[in-house]
């Protein structure tokens, strides 16, 4: 496995935070500990050799039955070096929180709200963490794998 520049620098800078890395045909992925996510993102953005100035996507995956259950996924892009990296951070169900990265990339704001809305992952330090696609009063988080398929919401009533 030939570790890319990004993964090498990450491993040098955060030796204790990187759980696993892999690089397949230039597709770099680093699985990191969630406690250091904000520091790692700041480093990736500010390091002169990396310069990941564009947060393209932020989403989550529910691996029901696995520990940690959730994985928050960040897709970053460096406009300067035309380089991409994927950062994943595991989030357990019992402590379903992770630090917000809105202070690093303001564009993460609505993505984090969407992940909160659909998966119930709480982003610490988010300026306004409330539902974005669903409405206030919606119970549960519908993209969780254990959300009942036919569940009806209390505000909607049994018919609807």
């Amino acid at each position: 496995m030939d570790a890319s520049v990004t993964l090498k620098k990450l491993a040098e800078r955060f030796p204790g935070s990187i759980v696993e890395t892999h690089s397949f045909r230039g597709d770099d992925t680093a699985i990191v500990k969630k406690e250091d996510i904000a520091a790692i993102c700041t480093f990736l953005r500010d390091d002169e050799a990396l310069h990941y100035n564009f947060m393209m996507d932020l989403t989550a995956v529910d691996y029901l039955g696995r520990e940690p259950r959730f994985e928050v996924v960040y897709h970053l892009y460096s406009l300067k070096y035309n380089r991409r990296v994927r950062i994943k951070a595991g989030v357990s169900e019992s402590d379903c929180t992770i630090d917000s990265i809105v202070s690093v990339w303001p564009s993460a704001d609505w993505f984090e709200r969407e992940v909160y809305d659909m998966y119930g992952v709480v982003f610490n330090g988010h300026p306004e963490l409330r539902r974005i696609l669903l409405y206030e009063g919606f119970e549960g988080h519908p993209l969780r794998k254990d959300y009942p398929l036919k569940k009806r919401q209390p505000l909607i009533g049994p018919i609807n």
């Binding site: 696609l133 669903l134 409405y135 519908p142 959300y147 398929l149 036919k150 569940k151 919401q153 209390p154 505000l155 909607i156 009533g157 018919i159 609807n160």
Partner: protein
């Protein structure tokens, strides 16, 4: 006092009708038609629908097709879309309605002046279609009273025209006492 039935002033078009006409009509030599006020008003209403196109999804393309010159809803008097609910009397619900959008639909319905009719265009508006999930209203009749259901994904223009003609037949049979219907009967628990 000589009363002439079907005098020379009667146009040929009116002459056959006069054979079955009432005494008053004969008296006035075809210059008037005696009918019920309700029938005349319904006749005017059914040929002058002002639609409010509540278009949310892909059915909108089919709606444009049926409203356009090829199928031409104007032939049935339902051509003019009004983008203010105050000026509309036919609510065309075209497409999927999500729960987040439901309060908007109810608000638009309540803002329309009476008499007003609702046209459920397409499978999603009729029943939720194949979107049986957490986000979709399972048929707009759970929110507002619906007059015509036109299923299909999307419905053919012929089906829409057929639905419109059925609505016209329904309007023709209405009574003044059918109105006003009042606000949308949404359960209070919904707080819509």
């Amino acid at each position: 006092m000589g009363i002439e039935y079907g005098g020379s002033g009667v146009s040929p078009g009116f002459a056959p009708r006069l054979q079955n006409a009432s005494d008053e009509e004969r008296l006035l030599e075809g210059g008037v038609v005696v009918t019920r006020l309700e029938a005349v008003v319904n006749w005017a209403r059914k040929y002058s629908f002002f639609q409010y196109p509540f278009v949310t999804a892909c059915c909108g393309m089919e709606f444009m097709s049926v409203a356009g010159p090829k199928y031409d809803l104007d032939r049935f008097g339902a051509a003019l879309p009004r983008f203010s609910p105050r000026q509309a009397d036919l609510l065309m619900v075209v497409g999927t309605i999500s729960h987040k959008q439901a309060p908007i639909l109810v608000k638009v319905y309540n803002q329309m002046t009476e008499p007003k009719w609702v046209f459920a265009f397409g499978a999603c508006a009729v029943s939720g279609g194949f979107y049986d999930n957490y986000s979709t209203v399972q048929g707009i009749d759970t929110l507002v009273p619906v007059d015509v259901y036109v299923p299909g994904c999307p419905p053919r223009p012929e089906m829409v025209i057929d639905g419109l003609i059925k609505l016209q037949q329904k309007v023709a049979k209405e009574k003044f006492s059918d109105w006003p219907r009042g606000a949308a009967p949404v359960t209070p628990a919904c707080k819509l």
